[in-house]
Symmetry: C2
Subunit: 360 residues, 2 copies
Amino acid sequence: MTKFSFQSLKEFTRNVFLAIGCDRDDAELASDVLLSADLRGVDSHGVARLIGYVRLWEGARINGRPEVGVVHETPGTAVVDGDKGLGLVVAPKAMEIAIDKARQVGTGWVAIKNSNHFGIAGYHAMMALEHDMIGIAMTNASPLVAPTFSVERLLGTNPIAVAIPADKEPPFVADFSTTTAANGKLEILQRKQEEAPIGWVQTNEGQASTDPGVLKKGGALLPLGGDRDHGSHKGYCLGSIVDIFSAILSGANYGPWVPPFVSFLPVSDDPVGEGIGHFVGAMRVDAFRPGHEFKQHMDNWIGRFRSAKTVNGQESVYIPGDPERISEEKRKKEGIELLPAVVSDLHSLADKFDLSLPSD
Amino acid sequence: MTKFSFQSLKEFTRNVFLAIGCDRDDAELASDVLLSADLRGVDSHGVARLIGYVRLWEGARINGRPEVGVVHETPGTAVVDGDKGLGLVVAPKAMEIAIDKARQVGTGWVAIKNSNHFGIAGYHAMMALEHDMIGIAMTNASPLVAPTFSVERLLGTNPIAVAIPADKEPPFVADFSTTTAANGKLEILQRKQEEAPIGWVQTNEGQASTDPGVLKKGGALLPLGGDRDHGSHKGYCLGSIVDIFSAILSGANYGPWVPPFVSFLPVSDDPVGEGIGHFVGAMRVDAFRPGHEFKQHMDNWIGRFRSAKTVNGQESVYIPGDPERISEEKRKKEGIELLPAVVSDLHSLADKFDLSLPSD
């Protein structure tokens, strides 16, 4: 593991985005979104993915200088065409539109097509917080998940993030994939040569499996719940709703047609839409009741849950967003540790674009 | 088991609601909502609960003739005060308001306070379908669920329903509690004297349990996922979001303060809001893209998922709403079978209100 300061890693990332044609503002925004994942402890969605974005740009699947625009709107809704831009840039721009609309009519909802991977959903949802709004963000993703009773992979890990402002307490920030476990956790197990719990994955014939490498053998991730007895049909519902809101409302690809993040896998030659899809929303809390009342009750909710009596051996009940916030505070000060494989990818990017990779 | 025709059971239910003071329209609406659960195979939320509503009315916790009104609104949002009315009546009225607002500005969102149990969430969400809108409904409920790492019961089964229109295919209708399994399934196991799968419930000390009767001993239902390794923190997030949207946006009780459905348990003497809360929404699909385009892509989505290759022994991958629709078609024709305990409750209601209970 090599440790980097947040600032140096962010500067490097910004320079890579500049090198693939982003303008200054977009490069700044994209690096802010990407690094927020490393800060918040979602290592699978941070600089570890930087080389993946560059490969998509090399394959002409990402446009470094997109014209992101609204193609349809009503007072409370819009559809945004991402022009094949980085989702890291397209999604926050769409979220700004949702926030503007919420200012006007109470809530704003934007479906986005023709985009790419948008980093962590939580970043976009949290943009609403400073406006005393609830933020919501979701996206579809590469098909790796088998619906209940299916052996075919028809859905992505399709995450949902919801950020809710509080008063003195930190905000409530839920950000989770709609599968039992996301891909990053399988990669960790593979490195450690450990087994996955039953309920995370299945084989290419739909049998329960503990092999964390089973996705490479045609296996699939499982929807939250794991199997029918444990409610996998509910995880399948959630993943489907994310897919439909993100792609059928917007005109993006959905289900098995979603273009894969990894550039070495082919995209469908019979697409049903454009790029991948996201869906974001903002709701003004004072469109429902006075903001201070809402936030004081949120404090009360958070305080009550955090102080709940715990199961033996557990320190406390977490409020959604607690672990990520603690990681962010720590890593901003102490730096971000990266795995050798990730550092090696960054070195190859430094070589490619003639950049220096600082370390501290 | 005794079988009743849908019509006779509905008429009886309507007469019971008339007897507790509902006017004709409300009695008709409430019986329509309640019976839709029996038709759709959600037996735990249908006439089996009728006596429970009557007991709440006897305990002055339900107002048979409420003045349901908007207490705050913007072009796209409203808060509705249910005036202690039947949730079966309050929720559809709030949904009508959401649909009206969606007609005006693209989407409409209504938070409801001072209400009671609203039957199946799916009924309210499905109201949007005939308007070519996506419908969403959720509610908080009696605290029976322990968040991850908690031994205390702080959340309800807090269901979410999302109904999405299609063209030639039947609509997509997801309607599910945010727990691994809902209470009704535990009752079935108790009657059969069978064990619950691990992941459904825990003991009063937070240990995994297979005892379907453990809730009576201070145990708790578990959030979707079951335990931390299987993503219970995600189910906890979902249940929390439903609680906050339903009650903190509206001014209802939340978390452990939610008044229990059963009349023999006391309500909190230190309430944080009024009654229980719901949250409903409607989104016009043509606020995003032309309605026929959207619905044709929904048909394509549904067709692709339903025809997916299945795990050995499974006939097909279900589309959310399939099992309930099949049940509805069958029971409308063939009648509704009720357990002896439910029939006995209906007889006691018939005696109480001097009604006759028809059977076929």
